[in-house]
């Protein structure tokens, strides 16, 4: 099935050897040729010396979910030759370093081996030992350019841009690429059954990772205080936010910063800082991953109960516990939805790609301030750290932040008396007042029992009045969060429900299922609490497959608990090994369930 602009290859390397920049170069070159492409980085939780892989999928039709079928393996790590060569599809190719002979045992009859003496070429052409290691990767870029028909002009243009201010590096990169290119042309049969041909499918797109897009969203939303503690895969949200702020948030006159980024001592402090800053009136956020969310539990409950806006980006990784920090998963749905003891319920947004990371980040601030409550944006390692080809981001200059009901000194003055939690508006929200504005707005925020006036209480009726409004407020938020995306197929026999980064694989799977005669409607949940359309969709199908990336079917649990949809309508398809979802996972998961059901029906029939 592979062919022009439709294939996948994988690069097997050792981390800390500079392969990331070579792989990035490859991705971008293909992207600039106008061809839809995606890259998945599978890296270990260490700094140097362990195996690392980079998977590139080229698909002219725009399917850029992960695929587990590789037409070509670039095997640069002798440690993992065995498993890497085994992973190639029959009829596929392996490009390896022929400086040393390949162990005969590793050879496969159904796979073509392409040897290039990368190490030798580097030893012959570069002097320094570090350079020799780094340039090996660049050499294979050249070889692949020859094998796959990557446009060399594009590659050279990229080198110009990338090393604009580092001419020496530019020269060695160019040299390395030439070496690899020339060797391939001279020694290899470059007529592979797949390859690249320029298209025009990426002109209105960018290649960006979700964490950078998230940071851009925070910048554009006007966030001024960020607090965080480093953790994979969320660290790059703050790295990006910082570099964006350094570029766009310096006072032109004084050179001073229009933002404060606080590197906290841990996640308990980070969320505490966010609550403090939000209480004082700032747009503020933190970014973290599962272990951080666990640590933030107590204060998230405080934010919920005292009604303090806060935005938390949870870039999910594989749990439980420390789990696999460099693998992806959607395992924190319940932990976030019900974070903290007691009756708490939070608002969650589920972006599906970097584009939505950008827009949802902005939305999250608007929602947090409008509803005066913590709002989570749950992306994951796959979205956050991999480069995705998405639509160019747009900004509407007429946008004004929705800061919710916040009373000015004049508005406070006009009141007879100010009460923090009363009266409520149609969102079940009451007006805030900020410190530093007016004594009249002074109140005591607290996590202990309080009545609607903000006073301390231990009376059941007063206590209930407030927590009942909080429950109401959470329900009201369903009208304000991003609506689900629904994709109907005429004649559909069942529904598929999914969320976040599963989207690409599910959309691709819809086509594959159709080919097999299975017609399905598809709904992508984009937020919790659930919009009424979610319930409508689910109730309109006898069977809905809930596709998600965790062991326990957490989205299904949430749908069960928080809609009135009958349980029998919700079947679970779960993939949770830590790699990004593929269409094959989805198709296999659903067809297996369908087959099992038919089998059960048949058996029931026989018993009758």
């Amino acid at each position: 099935m592979s062919g022009i602009n439709n294939f996948a290859f994988k690069l097997a390397n050792v981390n800390g050897t500079g392969s990331a920049s070579a792989n990035g170069l490859l991705m971008q070159a293909i992207f600039r040729m106008g061809i839809p492409v995606s890259g998945k980085n599978l890296f270990p939780s260490n700094i140097q010396g362990l195996p690392t892989w980079y998977e590139v999928r080229v698909n002219g039709e725009g399917h850029t979910a992960r695929t587990p079928d590789f037409d070509l393996m670039v095997a640069m790590n002798a440690e993992t030759y065995g498993r890497d060569i085994a992973e190639v599809v029959p009829g596929g190719y392996v490009l390896y370093d022929s400086t040393w002979p390949l162990d005969a045992q590793l050879k496969r009859a159904d796979v073509t081996l392409l040897g290039v003496p990368f190490a030798r070429l580097c030893t012959e052409h570069f002097a320094e030992s570090r350079e020799r290691i780094l340039m090996k990767n660049i050499v294979y870029v050249g070889t692949l350019a020859a094998l796959l028909d990557i446009d060399m002009a594009t590659v050279h243009q990229m080198l110009e841009e990338k090393f604009e201010r580092k001419p020496r590096l530019k020269d060695s990169n160019r040299k390395a690429i030439e070496l690899g290119y020339r060797y391939a042309r001279e020694h290899l049969d470059c007529e592979l059954p797949f390859g690249l041909k320029a298209m025009d499918a990426t002109a209105d797109k960018i290649l960006i990772d979700g964490n950078t897009a998230t940071a851009l969203g925070c910048l554009y939303a006007g966030a001024t205080v960020a607090a965080w503690y480093p953790i994979t895969p969320a660290t790059s949200v703050m790295d990006a936010f910082k570099s964006l702020c350094q570029r766009f948030r310096r006072d032109p006159v004084t050179g001073k910063n229009r933002y404060a980024i606080l590197q906290a001592e841990d996640e308990l402090a980070a969320i505490g800082m966010v609550l403090g800053a939000a209480w004082a009136g700032a747009r503020t956020f933190t970014s973290t991953a599962g272990p951080g969310v666990s640590l933030m539990g107590e204060l998230l409950g405080l934010g919920y109960y005292a009604e303090v806006p806060a935005v938390v980006f949870d870039v999910q990784r594989t749990g439980p516990s420390t789990g696999m920090p460099t693998r992806t998963q959607q395992g924190d749905l319940l932990a976030c939805a019900y974070a903290s003891h007691g009756d708490t319920k939070h608002v969650l947004l589920f972006p599906c790609d970097p584009e939505e990371c950008f827009y949802f980040a902005v939305k999250a601030f608007d929602l947090a301030e409008r509803f005066q409550t913590p709002v989570f944006v749950l992306s994951d390692l796959d979205i956050g750290m991999n480069d995705w080809a998405v639509k160019r981001l747009k900004w509407d200059d007429s946008y004004q932040p929705d800061r919710g009901k916040v009373l000015s000194a004049a508005e406070l003055d006009a009141l007879k008396k100010y009460y923090r939690y009363w009266p409520e508006n149609e969102d079940a929200v009451a007006a805030r007042s900020l410190p530093g504005v007016s004594s009249k707005g002074a109140y005591f925020a607290r996590g202990s029992g309080h009545n609607k006036y903000g006073g301390y209480t231990e009376l059941p009726s007063e206590y209930q009045e407030v927590v009942d409004r909080l429950a109401r407020k959470h329900r009201r938020a369903a009208r304000a969060v991003p609506a689900p995306v629904i994709h109907r197929t005429p004649g559909a026999r069942f529904g598929i429900v999914s969320l976040g980064g599963c989207d690409g694989a599910v959309r691709e799977a819809l086509g594959l299922l159709k080919q097999r005669g299975f017609l399905a409607d598809y709904l992508r949940v984009r937020a919790f609490p659930f919009d009424e359309r979610v319930e409508g969709f689910l109730s309109s199908h006898d069977v809905n497959f809930v596709v998600e990336q965790n062991r326990d079917g957490q989205l299904r649990t949430l749908l069960l608990a928080e809609t009135s949809v009958e349980k029998r309508r919700l079947k679970s398809v779960r993939v949770y090994g830590g790699f990004p979802l593929s269409a094959r996972d989805v198709v296999e998961g659903i067809t297996a369930k369908l087959a099992a059901e038919r089998q059960a029906e048949r058996e029931a029939h026989q018993e009758e």
């Binding site: 797109k205 006007g222 001073k256 980024i261 001592e265 402090a269 700032a282 204060l299 707005g441």
Partner: protein, 351 residues
């Protein structure tokens, strides 16, 4: 026995300050603490301090954790916003508030349990960040609100009400602060209002993290014979190391002291602290001297009080972060959002 309603007794001192506010305007709700609780004396000192410093109540932000001590913010400055947060987490909330609005006078009130057990890490890091705030520990050597367990500031050999003897070494916020590079360290006693008011004034004028440890006896669970944090014990062993006199910016420093034992330090807002009766071998600007001196005296069971250490040179959180000298929380949106053209240009790098 306190009552929740406020008795309509006329106050002795109702003369207005320069803002036209009376002492009463700096008070808060009626205390619900035990009659005689040291924390209520701290409240009284805070009320007087803010009154005399002519602070506009709405510019103060009062934050606390959880504990009897952490209820204090309810009892002063009704006109200021307050946040009674979670146990041990006040330092982080205060840091966030200070980041958002640098014009606020941040007052954090905590207890020894709140600050030295569950909140120890946050205390140390807010201090290290040099967040501009008054950080006041109402230190009674016990968990009051949970009814009498030893806290991390309980001294070796001190006995609980049930008669148990503590054997673990105490965490002394003053020595701790010295080791961490704190920029302002004082110790007071809730039973000495005059000293406390002077210390609080200096602390509030300090541009940075002002750590004030106040011995504040718990009459219900830690005021018995055998306790080293009782009124009696504190009175008997207290030592005023340096007498502190606070002179606000406008006023002139006049009084003369014997040379050699007096020291004047000008704070960033122009006010002055005049330290007198400083021991010969003591220098409140010399971290290691202060440490040795205090360690030696505390080893003997003495309880040194006063403005113990001061370093006006270190930048506060905002200086270190080089933020604009404006409130971040309400910067105009136009100054924050780069707009569509910039976004368009930015994305060039992503193609």
């Amino acid at each position: 026995m306190p009552s929740i309603k406020k008795p309509p007794v006329a106050h002795p001192s109702l003369q207005p300050n320069t803002l036209g506010l009376s002492l009463r305007d700096y008070e808060g709700a009626m205390s619900t603490l035990c009659a005689g609780c040291g924390h209520d004396s701290v409240t009284a000192a805070l009320v007087r301090t803010f009154f005399e410093l002519n602070v506009a109540p709405h510019m103060v932000a009062k934050l606390s954790g959880i504990g009897c001590s952490s209820k204090t913010p309810t009892y002063f400055l009704t006109g200021a916003h307050g946040f009674n947060s979670a146990h041990g987490r006040m330092p982080a909330l205060a840091s966030g508030a200070a980041a958002a609005n640098r014009d606020l006078t941040i007052v954090g009130i905590s207890g020894d349990g709140d600050s030295l057990s569950i909140g120890l890490g946050q205390l140390c890091h807010a201090l290290r960040r040099n967040v501009r705030m008054l950080y006041l520990i109402e230190n009674n050597g016990v968990y009051g609100l949970t009814k009498g367990q030893f806290s991390a500031s309980s001294d070796v050999g001190s006995r609980s009400k049930k008669g148990e003897k503590n054997l673990q070494r105490p965490i002394d916020p003053v020595l701790l602060g010295l080791s961490l590079g704190a920029s302002f360290i004082a110790r007071g006693f809730s039973g000495d209002k005059q000293q406390l008011v002077a210390l609080l004034k200096a602390a509030l004028s300090h541009r940075g993290f002002a750590l004030v440890d106040v011995l504040s006896p718990c009459v219900t669970f830690n005021d018995h014979e055998g306790s080293t944090k009782s009124y009696k014990h504190t009175r008997a062993h207290r030592l005023t190391v340096v007498e502190t006199d606070f002179v606000p910016p406008a006023q002139e420093v006049t009084a003369q002291q014997e040379p050699g034992t007096t020291l004047s330090v000008t704070l960033h807002d122009g006010s002055t602290v005049r330290l007198s009766r400083v021991p010969e071998d003591y220098d409140p600007r010399d971290r290691s001297k202060v440490f040795s001196w205090l360690e030696a005296h505390q080893h003997r069971g003495e309880i040194p009080t006063g403005l113990l250490f001061l370093d006006e040179a270190h930048g506060d959180m905002h200086q270190m972060a080089s933020t604009v000298e404006r409130r971040l929380h309400d910067l105009p949106f136009e100054e924050l959002c780069p707009g569509s053209a910039a976004l368009e240009a930015f994305q060039k790098d992503y193609h």
